[in-house]
């Protein structure tokens, strides 16, 4: 993979978006969620953005607020048909869904959203390969945009990432004077740049180019520094604590603060759980769909007999934390979280994942400390 750096000027970006629209290649990018947001003097609350297919540069909201939903919907749609069925004579005919997805490109993905893709790839490919997810992944080229850090809810650096992480990206844009410094990290990224070479400019030779490279590095370093203060955890001891404190009273403090609404899972770039349901379309025909689902609802694990292994919200919230920081790590050697902070921002009751992780990590540190003291510590405790 080449690390060749190019420049994408603001004009070049506009040309690129128009060219893609004209060619019918969907370009997904952070865009203004409504007209109110982009108006001069709009309040911070109104400046909402979303990922969507854009057709002109005026829609782009690069470097603005974090899009409300992650990129997940473009790879695992909130609802999608797994197959259609219809009765034919005395039998049934099944019709697979199309998987010959047209090529699409994401321009300006948040690195935390791009990084979620290879994380979910692992779930979608252990033993059984999910054709729909994989086909969309294969059809999509992802260029991320180095992030300047959203707010105090961000904690990408606490989950093995950083605000300009390359993970899951085929290429990366970093803001510099006049536009974006462009790097590519994969064949797909290379091929995309080659196919649209006229929209990109060579870095000025000599000092001019060096200045831009320094600007880009400085942007990334500032962001790294900014997010680092939000959260730091030791995943080894955190995992160990989770593994040994399934019945800890700690969990009873989290359930009462959770409505079980599942917005955390909806906005999460890595939450991938789904339901499978049949939807009749008429007499003798229908579709089977999968829909986004969440472990936070009371029916998620409910048996037909009425038995429910996760009886209360404490157990359901524990599942959310454990799946991300214990179950997935043990299965796949990674964490099921990119630190985007959306769950904390979206939660109607103020449940804050960074705070929860910091709390568990502090408990884990105490446990680890007690362990290090060993028998002597235990003897002191017994004596006192």
């Amino acid at each position: 993979m080449s690390e060749r750096a190019l420049l994408l000027t603001h004009d070049g970006l506009a040309t690129l978006v128009e060219e893609l629209a004209a060619a019918g290649t969907p370009a997904v990018a952070p865009a203004w969620a409504g007209d109110a947001g982009r108006a001069a003097g709009a309040s911070a609350a109104a400046r909402e953005t979303e990922y969507r297919t854009v057709s002109g540069a005026a829609e782009l909201a690069f470097g603005e607020r974090l899009p409300r939903l992650s990129l997940k919907q473009f790879f695992l749609p909130p609802t999608e048909v797994l197959f259609s069925w219809r009765r034919v004579g005395g039998g049934v005919e099944l019709i697979p869904p199309p998987t010959d997805f047209a090529a699409q490109v994401v321009l300006g993905a948040r690195p935390c959203d791009a990084a979620a893709l290879p994380i979910v790839d692992k779930v979608m490919n252990w033993d059984y390969a999910d054709e729909l997810w994989n086909a969309r992944r294969a059809a999509t080229t992802v260029f991320s945009l180095a992030c300047g850090v959203e707010d105090d809810s961000c904690f990408c650096s606490a989950v093995f990432l950083e605000p300009a992480a390359a993970r899951g990206s085929d290429g990366r844009l970093t803001p510099v004077d006049g536009g974006y410094l462009v790097e590519t990290f994969s064949d797909k990224g290379e091929a995309f740049v080659a196919a649209h070479r006229e929209s990109f400019t060579d870095l000025p030779a000599g000092a001019g180019g060096e200045v831009l490279a320094v600007q880009a590095e400085s942007f990334r370093a500032t962001a790294r520094e900014r997010v680092a203060g939000n959260l730091a955890v030791d995943h080894g001891r955190l995992r160990d604590w989770l593994d040994h404190h399934f019945d800890d009273p700690f969990w009873a403090g989290l359930g009462p603060r959770c409505n079980g609404c599942g917005v955390c899972a909806s906005v999460c770039p890595t939450c991938h759980c789904f339901d499978i349901v049949d939807e009749p379309e008429s007499v003798g025909r229908g579709v089977r769909r999968r829909n986004w689902d969440t472990c936070q609802t009371c029916v998620f694990t409910l048996h037909a007999s009425g038995h429910n292994p996760r009886q209360d919200q404490n157990a359901r919230f524990r599942q959310r934390v454990e799946h991300k920081f214990l179950v997935y790590p043990l299965k796949f050697g990674d964490v099921l979280c990119t630190g985007c902070g959306r769950c904390s921002r979206a939660c109607p009751t103020g449940q804050d994942l960074a705070e929860i992780l910091a709390d568990i990590d502090a408990r884990a540190a105490i446990d680890a400390g007690a362990g290090a003291v060993g028998d002597e510590g235990a003897a002191d405790e017994a004596a006192s």
């Binding site: 797994l82 197959f83 069925w85 009765r87 005395g90 039998g91 049934v92 099944l94 697979p96 869904p97 199309p98 998987t99 997805f101 047209a102 090529a103 791009a114 893709l117 290879p118 790839d121 779930v123 490919n125 033993d127 059984y128 390969a129 999910d130 054709e131 997810w133 994989n134 086909a135 992944r137 294969a138 992802v142 390359a166 085929d170 990290f185 994969s186 991938h272 759980c273 499978i276 049949d278 229908g286 089977r288 999968r290 689902d293 472990c295 998620f300 694990t301 048996h303 037909a304 007999s305 292994p309 996760r310 157990a315 599942q319 454990e322 799946h323 214990l326 179950v327 043990l330 299965k331």
Partner: protein, 293 residues
Amino acid sequence: MSATPTAQGGAQALPRTGTIYQPDLVVVEAIVDETPDTRTYRLRFTDEAKAASFAFRAGQFGEYSVFGAGESTFCIASPPTRTGYLECTVKAAGKVTGSLRQVDVGDVLGFRGPYGNVFPLEEWEGRNLLFIAGGIGLAPVRCVIWNVLDLRDRYGEVTIVYGARSVADLVYKRELEDWAARADVRLIVTVDPGGETPDWSGEVGYVTPVVEKAAPSPDNAVAVLCGPPIVVKLTLPVLERLGFADDAIFTTLENRMKCGVGKCGRCNIGSVYVCKDGPVFTAAQIKALPQEF
């Protein structure tokens, strides 16, 4: 570097067999009314090549479709030693199982599978086998029992303890008669107190105390225990008291599932996915899990 998905993708259409979520078509060959609310369905793949190539092992499960109602998870209740068909035994309890009540012989259903791990029957050769089942928990055990009886020479003594709420709730009644008539099977059938009929000649009592009273020997023995979570939870300590080692006790966990292939995130107990790491577990494995099943 971006990770590349392992499977082919992009501009490529699926074959007619579709995605991993698309079932094979099966036709209902026979229906047996086991109890007022439980039926056994015998299914055969409509595709001859699929019917010929289909193979599974005792303990595995499938996702069964009633088109228009949905999909549900049941074990394969017929033994792998009998080919050309598969059976599931289903109690009407929810949407899909309720819809199955409307199904007739000749209707077309869907089947995905086999999924999950297996009972290590090869390792059990030469050993005595104790089967304990409660209610419809006899379905997964029946698969193993017939597998063993079809290869009878390979195994030692076979003891079966089966309990149901009432005489009417006993499933596989004709097979219970077959087993009772065999000299090479010790069968104990029990019904819960109050569930007996005037002419009932079997035991009366819950499965757990009946097992304790029967006091099967743990020597060179393996126990297979399936039933509602409460029966499993109460009987495990009894087996322990009888001297069965934790790695000589096998059970199946029946968590709610959707995909069956480790994607939908529904069936995990701690770091174990019941669909892929189970459904068969030893008592030793169960004890190491969070008690969330």
